[in-house]
């Protein structure tokens, strides 16, 4: 599902590699934590997976597509098979919960009847069915992140990428969000979570990939968070 083959990413000539000779294989349906301290290359990895950045060397094959060779006009279609969740939620403040989730379907040209059926379904899935009329500012941080997850899920992605999804949340809410991601993974979606939340990683007993200075320094099944 995700294959990194000796991937390097540098932001400019003479700059150190943000991702340095990384090799990684993720199977369909896996749940993977990518951990590491700030500047370890985790977020760059997410950007590479989103094809927001291009690899400097090596190759990246995601969902059977070589990202290095991918033409710009094909990126949009590729991204439709990914769901993405950010630390800062990135919700549209002037639109309510329903509209935020529906937005993800609208932009990929889904018919209105599909949107009307699918959005309540996914809101139910993340436990926000009763709050579909609320504006983001009327919700707690955890609820806003659930909206973001609903938006990421509404198009039934093959892979869900989460970049520090609990970074702005308290420990109890963080655990709820992780449990939600785990349930989503249980239904067959591959989940890749970038985090530096040690407690959560250690409690969930999932595969843990540790990065340091752009390099993958460990990759453990049912692993734990190791400080670099």
């Amino acid at each position: 599902m995700i294959d990194l083959i000796n991937v390097c990413k540098s932001y400019g000539k003479g700059q150190p590699n943000a991702v340095d000779h990384a090799t990684l294989h993720v199977d369909p349906g896996e749940f993977v934590f990518v951990v590491g301290s700030s500047g370890s290359g985790k977020s760059t990895l997410i950007k590479l997976l989103l094809r927001e950045l291009e690899v400097t060397s090596g190759d990246m094959v995601v969902l059977g597509q070589h990202l290095k060779k991918m033409k710009h006009r094909r990126v949009a279609k590729y991204r439709r098979r990914l769901g993405v969740v950010f630390q800062d939620f990135r919700l549209l403040k002037d639109r309510n919960v329903y509209e935020n989730v529906a937005f993800a379907q609208r932009v990929i040209n889904r018919p209105t009847r599909v949107i009307r059926r699918r959005v309540p379904e996914v809101l139910q899935e993340v436990g926000l069915a009763g709050k579909y009329k609320s504006l983001p500012d009327e919700l707690s941080g955890g609820e806003q992140q659930r909206v973001a997850i609903a938006r990421a899920l509404v198009n039934r992605p093959d892979i869900l990428l989460a970049d520090e999804p609990t970074g702005n949340l308290d420990p109890a809410t963080s655990l709820e969000i992780m449990e939600l991601l785990d349930r989503i993974n249980g239904r067959g979606t591959t989940v890749l979570v970038v985090t530096h939340n040690k407690d959560i990683v250690n409690s969930m007993k999932k595969r843990v990939v540790t990065m340091n200075q752009g390099m993958i320094i460990s990759d453990e099944e049912e692993g734990e968070y190791h400080e670099a």
């Binding site: 949009a76 990135r90 549209l92 993800a104 990929i108 040209n109 018919p111």
Partner: protein, 313 residues
């Protein structure tokens, strides 16, 4: 594109305009000024051309013949010329009439002379010259109704047997054409500068719209929106601004042109007699589509270039 997506695009375009209404108004006003000036110059150029054409049509082509051309041959040539569709009238001018015209031209006060005085003047002239020097200058005066075909007609007549010379009197028209060329270059320069300013202002308005919606655009791109989908509302905004910016001056010009022509014809009867201006409906048959296309084109170009520059996520 689905109707719901089309509706969404339209709605977003109008939301952009509402959000940045000050910039939108500035863009519309600049476009209005630009198209208005374009319209004025266009009216001037088209009318000068029209007047030149009418003037040319009034001045006949003179066809002269070889010495000794018989009346039968003249009749034959006359029939051939008359058969041409662009020919309105063919008048025969004899040598005597030619002399009279010459004298009238030489002595502008000849109109005020009595017939007796004119006759004695002519006799005096003939006495000194022994014979009418214009005896062989009998000619056809050919007036045409399609000035564009004048050159073709002249070539045709020159190719006829017994035709010695064909004279085109296009000096007045040429003067007007030269004036028109100067007008064309001056107006092109001014309009060109204004068009660039319009493109810049529209581009600026769109840039502001993009920066206001930067976060939304970013999300759209992460979700998998195509470039076309992201750009469409902004391009639509540009086209709408261009369209409104073109429609306003066209309406203004319509009324202004009608009023001005009426005023010129009523208050300056000398102009009304010698010059005929293009009908407003005739003028707007071309000005309206050109103006609207210009507005839409500038709006499209300004917004398209800006979105291309800013929306590569």
């Amino acid at each position: 594109m689905r109707p719901s997506t089309m509706w969404y695009t339209l709605k977003q375009g109008f939301i952009n305009i509402r959000r940045n209404w000050m910039f939108s108004i500035a863009s519309i006003l600049t476009m209005t000024a630009c198209i208005f000036l374009f319209g004025i110059f266009y009216c001037l150029i088209v009318n000068v051309n029209y007047i030149a054409k009418k003037t040319e049509e009034k001045i006949p082509i003179a066809v002269f013949f070889d010495e000794g051309t018989t009346q039968e041959q003249l009749d034959e040539i006359e029939e051939l010329i008359k058969a041409r569709p662009e020919v309105e009238e063919v008048t025969f001018v004899s040598g005597d009439e030619g002399l009279e015209n010459y004298l009238n031209n030489m002595y502008p006060d000849a109109d005020e002379m009595t017939d007796d005085v004119k006759e004695s003047f002519k006799e005096l002239f003939l006495e000194y010259s022994n014979e009418n020097p214009l005896e062989d200058s009998f000619n056809f005066q050919v007036t045409i109704n399609e000035i564009e075909r004048q050159d073709a007609l002249v070539s045709y007549i020159k190719g006829l047997d017994h035709v010695r010379k064909v004279r085109q009197s296009s000096e007045a028209a040429n003067t007007l054409t030269s004036f028109n060329q100067i007008l064309y270059y001056v107006s092109s320069g001014i309009i060109g500068i204004l068009l660039l300013i319009s493109i810049f202002l529209i581009s600026n308005t769109i840039s502001v719209g993009i920066s206001v919606r930067k976060e939304e655009i970013g999300i759209m791109k992460y979700i998998g929106a195509t470039d076309h989908f992201v750009r469409a509302p902004f391009v639509l905004e540009g086209i709408f601004l261009g369209l409104v910016g073109a429609a306003i001056p066209l309406v203004l010009l319509y009324f202004l042109y009608t009023k001005t022509i009426n005023l010129l014809v009523e208050n300056f009867s000398i102009l009304g007699g010698s010059m005929r201006f293009l009908e407003v409906k005739e003028l707007f048959k071309t000005l309206c589509p050109i103006g609207l296309c210009l507005g839409i084109g500038i709006g499209f170009l300004g917004s398209f270039l800006t979105t291309r520059k800013h929306l590569r996520v």
